[in-house]
């Protein structure tokens, strides 16, 4: 269970950066070079890259080495984030031939976990760190690796970037063991803050102790559909079987259990994701219809958005983006909206309909008008959105609401601790991939289910 080598490669410079090779697991240390196919001159077809023989669907790729014999390194795990490629080579504790299946190699999941951690460490929650921030994080990486992966043996994942180390007092000792994921005792005011965020994805197309223990309970409204695919943080001490039974995989999930979902845990010092779930919601919060027609030399658009009655009509923000692909840049735009404002993007290829904080009383907003594409400059292209295949993408956030109805009652949070913590609970609904496709054009094939996830 070891990692043989770890690379952080920046695609921008084209220069690979190598961070660590752990030789005692390599025994015969192999130096290797990474091929980066230059972005500036993409070759239409390169056999080693584009042929059919190899499997290109596994999380592990093989890295060909220069030099005689064309030796390869496998399994190379990679994560790409922006211009960064993170890669590591787990140790294969098996005869190399025939190549063992990935799941039989213990180091693979450890490598995946390490890469995920590394990604969080280098890039932080935003995913796009400033170059100097990234450089300083890269500089700190060797010492971090020394802690979390000494001698190539992963013990932990690097701490996420931007996580502020809480004020920590050394553990007072005693018979009780300190969890490895909690370096000391929290100092300062104890707070239990439970934030519930549901991300709604939608595809629409149509003609229609010493250790404090905390227990957080999620509850659903009486007729709520059960929370599915629950994944919990490792600090959760025990789980009830009934919590895990519901699963989106079963089409007719008839499990009667619909809460309360109890999660007893002992909190680490930093913010963490206690659990995540998915939920099937029969109706989307905003039902939309989008009709785009081609008329002579312009497009005629007609959009209606309807807010579902169960959704609170109070947004932090709500915008509809209407992009146009494979057209010239927009000329004159004669579009009227019944609510909010319409903006034409600087790039002249996108209409932004700012609906603001509220839908009108009727809970319905409409957009109608024509768009001319007069210029000679070609706009952005997209192989999917050709002809009348087009979409609207919605961006919104509603505070104090969940689609599944799931909530955490402030009084239901039980804390067994000498300190009396303040308990804060919040919830919100955020759009994730929220598309409404033009119903007069072809729809790209997709399985269209609405899920909400936390």
């Amino acid at each position: 269970m070891s990692i043989r080598a770890l690379w952080v490669v920046s695609q921008e410079k084209g220069e690979p950066g190598k961070l660590g090779i752990f030789p005692e697991t390599v025994l015969h240390a192999t130096s290797c070079r990474m091929h980066t196919h230059g972005q500036d001159r993409p070759k239409p077809y390169v056999e080693v890259r584009d042929d059919y023989a190899r499997q290109h669907r596994s999380p592990a790729v093989e890295l060909r080495l220069d030099g005689p014999g064309g030796r390869t390194l496998w399994p190379l795990l990679t994560v790409t984030q922006g211009a960064l490629i993170l890669a590591c080579l787990p140790l294969v504790e098996a005869p190399p031939e025939p190549r063992p299946p990935l799941p039989s190699l213990a180091s693979v999941s450890q490598g995946l976990a390490l890469l995920s951690g590394l990604q969080d460490f280098l890039c932080g929650p935003g995913g796009k760190p400033e170059p100097d921030v990234l450089a300083s994080r890269l500089a700190a990486l060797p010492s971090v690796l020394l802690q979390v992966c000494p001698l190539g043996r992963p013990l932990d994942t690097p701490p996420p970037a931007g996580s502020v180390p809480a004020a920590v007092a050394p553990s007072p000792g005693g018979a009780q063991k300190q969890p490895a994921w909690k370096a000391g005792v929290h100092r300062g005011r104890a707070v239990v803050s439970v934030a519930l965020t549901e991300k709604v994805r939608s595809m629409q197309y149509g003609k229609s102790s010493v250790l404090p223990n905390v227990t957080v309970t999620l509850t659903l409204p009486p007729n709520g559909s059960p929370l599915q695919d629950i994944l919990v943080h490792p600090c959760v001490t025990s789980l009830d079987a009934s919590i895990l039974t519901a699963c989106s995989v079963d089409e007719n999930d008839c499990s009667a259990f619909s809460g309360p979902y109890k999660f007893p845990f002992s909190p680490p010092l930093e913010l963490f994701r206690l659990c995540s779930y998915t939920s099937q919601v029969p109706v989307p919060p905003i039902l939309g219809s989008y009709q785009l027609k081609a008329e002579e030399n312009h497009l005629k658009a007609n959009v209606v958005l309807k807010l579902h009655e169960s959704v609170k009509n109070s947004f932090e923000y709500c915008e509809a983006h209407i992009p146009f692909f494979n057209q010239n840049l927009m000329g004159s735009v004669e579009v009227k909206v019944s609510s909010g404002q319409l903006e034409v993007s600087k790039e002249k290829s996108l209409l932004v309909w700012v609906l603001g904080q509220k839908f009108p009383k009727s809970r319905e907003a409409a957009l109608e008008g024509t768009v001319h594409f007069s210029g000679t400059v070609a706009g952005p292209t997209d192989p999917l959105c050709t002809g009348l295949t087009a979409y609207i993408k919605l961006y919104f956030r509603v505070a104090d609401l969940t689609l599944s109805g799931c909530c955490v009652d402030q009084h239901s949070v039980q804390v067994y601790s000498s300190a009396k913590p303040r308990i804060v609970t919040t919830r919100e609904l955020v759009s994730s991939e929220y598309y409404i496709w033009n119903s007069t054009g072809d729809a790209p094939v997709s399985s269209g289910a609405v899920t909400a996830s936390h």
Partner: protein
């Protein structure tokens, strides 16, 4: 730290280095904790990598002492180091388990994780060692847990390659009936506290514990029961993986059918969970395809679908056009397997859905998708066909679609002429190209079409008449011939090359000949004309059998080494070499020597000759065809020389070059008997003996075989390393010699330039010194260091094959009579 074996090439050096570092460690002030930790890691690294763990016993004792009393980070590092030592030398700590257990118990800070992992590893290895022993008594078994004697340095060691149990054919087991009470309570405690560990460490701990339970029959598998539910719900990939390892090891002795069903359901759910990362989801899909079921497992390691994954269950894993390419291909592959297993009605619907998906992908390609989209979509089609109809049964609809796409985007040619596609598609493509209006044939897409036609011409089942008509049409009705573009001409000839090989050549013989003649006269490029003429001659003078023979030889013979024959040879792939970026210092000698692992590397000497007519012969022999040169060896120092085929020799034309490839076992001078068989214009065959070819010693000299773009530093480094190795006298075959002489009328520099130009490693005229390396296949070297002293030249000679010295290189230097490789005339 990273390359200890480079700095410490031997165990003794390793040991010295470790001792030095140890003294650095002891002199480092207490507060420099990070430095101390780094030094500890370095020492451990050196000891393990130079394999002197067995002799260098003290370090482990030091580390163990440090585990007991020192600052936190140093204790943690000491544990990490010991764990690494135990891993690389299993059983090392097997007699120290009691001490380790106490340390683990006493530790209440976060460090207990390190102690816990160290102890568990030691415990597992100790038990593993015991399984090799027959008839273990209760006492022996107990003594492991209570052992506190010393380090087991040499005895009891498992082989370094001890594999995890899931890689073994048979799990090693202890004898039945041992008293496991104590071990059981230890195990329970470890499990109970496992949740206190970091997830990755937890997964490592669980794996060790699973191995222990698997090896000790007295321990019940149900020990893990209490942990299962927690593990089933985990969001951590390494913990879930460890759970699958448990499933793999214990199957139905721990997992009920309900558990199994549940676990699989979770896996399918996680393979598409919106909050997991793409790589994790891909990994879970792999796990589904290798799911250890509660039934006899096929140990082949092949992908297979668990019975419980039904179409309904996998519905959410249907690929969509919004997926990234790896996810899409992975899902598609999985779904194909699902529908293969499904009952008919369900399967038809599912396959229909997948087919629609493929068509949607192709539509995106058609809409000018990027390169990645093209490749992904065609791969998806490939996966689909592999599962359902096989590549042969490509449906009409698909062929039409692909051909339509091709007529719009001829840049797809390289993707579509891949050997995976069936003849039907190629036939379709040929038809499409024929039907294209002439206006669409631009230089740019013509080169793609020629690529396709070249591939089509390889198919014996496809008639080629249309191809020839098209080419004729294009050449006659366009200005191609006047423009005389070499690349286009070459691409056209590449099609002919394959056409000449085609079994139905008889049917199109006349047209083909017309065409070749047309090119050989009209095409405005001499090289193309020449080649067309050769083809014409071959076509009109040889039977098909002979023709294919000649073409085949050409192909095998000089595969992609010489660009000058590109019209005859299959297009060389070297043009498509990828861009590479590097910035590393490398050990060039290793690189150099590594090259020899490639079979046949640097083993050949190519001698070039011209094949011409002897001065006076019968005019009857002025034109000879299909010459086959045969070589006989006179000694056993060389491998058999393959026959050489030459299409024709005309007295009034340029004589063809013949390359004789010699493969020496011993690089000594030799001579070859040569005979020739050839055909006359009138069809009669002749056999004739040619003068012997003598191969002199200098003719088998080659320059140092390194990649052509190798730097001077690299060549110098290799030279110096070989020199050192030779001079060290380690090998009984190596020899060193010194020779002095006085250069006469010419200057030394000129002499060297004349005779060793191609073999110079360094040329420091200002310092009056030169280095020369002569490489002799298969792997001999003669190294010369030449310096100009006041009145004489000094030549130091080193060689790794003493037996070469009798062939006097020194004399050659002094007399400067190295003959140039001469072009010899072979008399016909």
């Amino acid at each position: 730290m990273e390359h200890p074996t480079i700095l410490c090439p031997s165990a003794s050096v390793g040991e010295e280095t470790a001792l030095e570092l140890l003294s650095v460690f002891s002199h480092t002030p207490q507060k420099s904790i990070v430095l101390k930790c780094n030094v500890m890691l370095a020492i451990t690294n050196v000891i393990i990598c130079t394999s002197c763990l067995n002799t260098h016993t003290k370090t482990a004792e030091d580390w163990l002492d440090l585990c007991g009393l020192s600052q936190q980070p140093i204790r943690a590092t000491a544990c990490d180091c010991l764990r690494e030592m135990e891993t690389c030398s299993p059983g090392l700590l097997s007699q120290k388990l009691e001490a380790l257990y106490l340390l683990k118990q006493q530790e209440t800070t976060v460090l207990h994780q390190s102690y816990c992992l160290l102890y568990t590893l030691g415990l597992k290895n100790a038990i593993r060692i015991l399984t090799n022993q027959k008839d273990v008594t209760d006492l022996e078994f107990k003594s492991i847990l209570g052992g506190n004697e010393g380090f087991a340095w040499k005895s009891n060691q498992l082989e370094l390659t001890s594999l995890p149990i899931n890689m073994l054919v048979q799990v090693p087991r202890l004898t039945q009936g041992l008293d496991c009470k104590e071990l059981k309570s230890i195990m329970s405690l470890l499990l109970e506290e496992s949740y206190l560990l970091m997830p990755i460490s937890q997964s490592a701990l669980l794996r060790e514990l699973v191995e222990v339970v698997a090896m000790v029959p007295g321990l019940s598998r149900t020990l893990f029961k209490s942990q299962l539910l927690r593990l089933f719900g985990t969001a951590d990939v390494s913990l879930m993986h460890a759970t699958l390892f448990m499933k793999d090891t214990f199957t139905d002795s721990l997992f009920t059918t309900v558990d199994e069903n549940f676990l699989l359901k979770r896996l399918v759910g996680m393979a598409q969970h919106p909050l997991l990362r793409i790589t994790e989801k891909l990994f879970y899909m792999e796990c589904i395809l290798h799911f250890p079921e509660n039934r006899p497992i096929s140990s082949s390691g092949e992908e297979s679908l668990p019975v419980l994954v039904t179409p309904r269950r996998a519905a959410f894993l249907h690929p969509t056009v919004f997926n990234d390419s790896a996810t899409m291909l992975c899902r598609l592959n999985l779904l194909c397997l699902v529908h293969l297993e499904a009952n008919e009605g369900e399967a038809d619907k599912g396959i229909g859905f997948l087919f629609d998906h493929i068509m949607a992908l192709l539509k995106i390609v058609d809409n000018d998708g990027s390169r990645e989209v093209v490749v992904t979509s065609l791969r998806a089609l490939f996966i689909f066909l592999m599962h359902f109809s096989g590549m042969e049964e490509l449906s009409e609809k698909l062929i039409d679609k692909l051909c339509d796409m091709y007529s719009r985007h001829s840049r797809l040619a390289p993707n579509l002429i891949d050997p995976v596609w069936s003849v039907k598609l190629l036939r379709g493509l040929q038809k499409r190209i024929m039907e294209m209006p002439p206006l669409q044939l631009t230089i740019h897409n013509l080169s793609w079409h020629l690529k396709v036609l070249k591939r089509v011409a390889k198919e014996g089942q496809i008639t080629q008449r249309n191809t020839i008509y098209l080419l004729l049409n294009v050449l006659i009705n366009s200005n191609l011939c006047e423009r005389g573009n070499w690349q286009v001409g070459n691409a056209v000839l590449a099609v002919y090359r394959n056409l000449l090989d085609h079994p139905s050549i008889d049917q199109v013989f006349i047209e083909l000949a017309d065409l070749l003649q047309y090119i050989s006269i009209q095409y405005d490029d001499t090289d193309i004309k020449d080649h067309a003429r050769i083809y014409y001659t071959l076509l009109t003078n040889l039977s098909w059998e002979k023709l294919t023979g000649v073409l085949a030889k050409r192909l095998d013979g000089g595969r992609a080494k010489e660009r000058s024959h590109s019209a005859i040879m299959a297009e060389s792939e070297e043009i498509a070499k990828s861009v590479e970026a590097t910035g590393e210092v490398r050990n060039w000698l290793e690189v150099y020597q590594g090259q020899f692992q490639t079979p046949g590397f640097g083993s050949e000497v190519t001698l070039r000759y011209n094949l011409t007519h002897a001065k006076e012969t019968d005019p009857l022999f002025d034109k000879v065809f299909t010459i086959c040169l045969h070589f006989e060896l006179k000694d056993s120092n060389y491998a058999k020389v393959t026959d050489i085929h030459v299409p024709c020799v005309f007295r009034d034309r340029k004589s063809p070059e013949v390359k004789v490839k010699l493969k020496p076992f011993q690089p000594y001078p030799t001579s070859l008997c040569v005979s020739a068989m050839f055909t006359m214009q009138d069809g009669r065959s002749w056999h004739s003996r040619l003068p012997d070819v003598s191969v002199s010693f200098p003719e088998i000299f080659l320059p140092l075989p390194l990649p052509p773009n190798s730097s001077r530093e690299c060549r110098e480094q290799v030279f110096e390393r070989i020199w050192e190795a030779t001079a060290s006298g380690n090998s009984d075959k190596s020899a060193i010699s010194l020779f002095c002489f006085k250069p006469e009328d010419k200057s030394l520099a000129d002499l060297i330039k004349t005779h060793f130009q191609g073999y110079l490693i360094t040329d420091q005229q200002s310092e009056r010194s030169w280095k020369v390396l002569l490489f002799l296949p298969p792997k001999c070297h003669i190294l010369l260091k030449i310096t100009q002293a006041e009145d004489a030249a000094q030549v130091s000679i080193a060689t790794d094959n003493r037996e070469l010295l009798p062939f006097p290189v020194s004399c050659r230097v002094s007399s400067a009579l190295l003959k140039e490789k001469s072009t010899k005339a072979l008399n016909n």
